[in-house]
């Protein structure tokens, strides 16, 4: 027993070093598995507050750009107003079922929850966006995030109080199902960790016709995003030699350099669908 104490006292520094290293590596492994750190929650609240203070200052320098993007978003919404359209067939009378009007809430599948970006990184290989929102209570882990012009930003990984941590498209573990608007082929959008604002679309077969500038949209196969949100436009197309697929470089529609506002998309069917998938997996096991 005495020898053990002597040993510990003699190699105390080395043992402490090993302990701290093991603790760090444990944190790394733990976090990449569950996206939920042991101390992550309390730390988030503190770092969230610091980021918020910093953002208040930085926000003033971005006002012009923010205004421009909100103006664009407004323009798009105005163009969708029903009063802008003439019904092509005036001979037929439109009949609206009153029951449906009353219960229209039931038919709403997606609704948008606004949030402000308080921190955003693009320089590391695992980039996160931190949002602050009064709607945070209605958000869930796994909900999709878009910028004011309705282009994809990422998905929620953690929520704490009014702060929401979002894994952005520019994260090495980010996988989003994408689709070519023209031809309809679907593939996976991922980031190779090299340049911000350039992501890769893989899994598109060689037989597809692709051209520079084609739009890549969300496929709607997952419950995260509705179908048809813009992910980006094709920048370059390479042939992957090992497979029969193209490697398509896509320039993201969302500009990650100057995110100021974002919306979380609430898919009201998400919990039900996820539960069904879980049940199906259980049965197949």
């Amino acid at each position: 027993m005495r020898n053990i104490f002597l040993f510990i006292r003699r190699y105390f520094n080395f043992l402490l070093f090993l302990l701290l290293q093991v603790l760090s590596i444990f944190l790394i492994v733990q976090y990449s598995n569950y996206h939920q750190a042991m101390f992550g929650n309390s730390a988030n609240r503190i770092t969230g507050k610091v980021n918020e203070q910093y953002n208040k200052i930085e926000y003033y320098f971005q006002l012009k750009r923010t205004n421009d993007s909100l103006l664009k978003a407004n323009e798009m919404l105005y163009n969708k107003l029903a009063s802008n359209f003439n019904l092509p067939d005036s001979g037929s009378k439109q009949v609206i079922d009153t029951i449906k009007i009353d219960s229209i809430v039931q038919y709403r599948k997606f609704n948008y929850l606004s949030a402000k970006v308080v921190a955003n990184s693009i320089t590391t290989q695992s980039n996160f966006v931190v949002l602050q929102s009064t709607n945070a209570a209605q958000m869930r882990v796994g909900m999709g995030i878009v910028d004011p012009n309705n282009s994809v930003v990422g998905a929620i990984t953690e929520i704490n109080g009014e702060f929401v941590v979002v894994m952005s498209l520019l994260h090495k573990d980010s996988r989003i199902s994408g689709k070519l608007l023209k031809t309809g082929e679907t593939g996976t959008v991922l980031w190779d960790g090299k340049y911000p604002n350039l992501v890769t679309l893989s899994g598109i077969p060689k037989s597809t016709k692709v051209a520079k500038g084609d739009s890549v949209i969300t496929s709607g196969f997952s419950t995260i995003f509705p179908k048809g949100l813009l992910i980006g436009r094709i920048d370059e197309v390479f042939l992957e030699k090992s497979t029969n697929n193209f490697k398509i470089v896509v320039r993201t529609a969302a500009n990650f350099h100057n995110l100021e506002y974002a919306y979380a998309i609430n898919n009201s069917q998400q919990p039900v669908i996820d539960q069904l998938i879980k049940n199906a997996e259980k049965i197949s096991k």
Binding site: F17, T123, G193
Partner: protein
Amino acid sequence: MSSLVKNIIRFMLFILIQVFVLDRIHLHQMVTPYLYFLFILWLPFKLQRSWLMIFAFLLGFTLDSFRHQPGFHAAACVLIAYLRPFLINLLIPQEGFETNYEEPSISSMGGILPYTIYIGVFAFMHNAWLFLLEAWQFGNIWYFLVKTVLSTLISLLLIIITDMIFVRKQKFRTNTI
């Protein structure tokens, strides 16, 4: 100003500069500018090694919290804190330097060369261990090596600039105090 207060202010300044200035600079995918670990290299000579490691862990963990990926920087900081006394003993062989000077700097280490070696070795170790931990999930060996070397050069440049801007006056204290 007492050494404790000075180091607490330094801790906050280094973290804020790293998070809000350097992390926002995107030079190239191969180059990540790191400066914050200079806090560990500037800690006083007479600080015990176990405290050195605990402070290093706190520093790394704080930066990790801002980046939402705990563990990476904490591991790298603990490594350099553990190895710091070894290299200081190698670089400054003469007796009694710890009592004469308070903390490592160009003047206390006897010239720019030992100081640059000191900074360079630890910048390299920090970056190598950090990128190695990241590379387990990502990338290959050449990518890792080039990234480490380039990032170390940038760190070295930043540290030398910092040392030129903020000249730390080192009082020479004799043993008779």
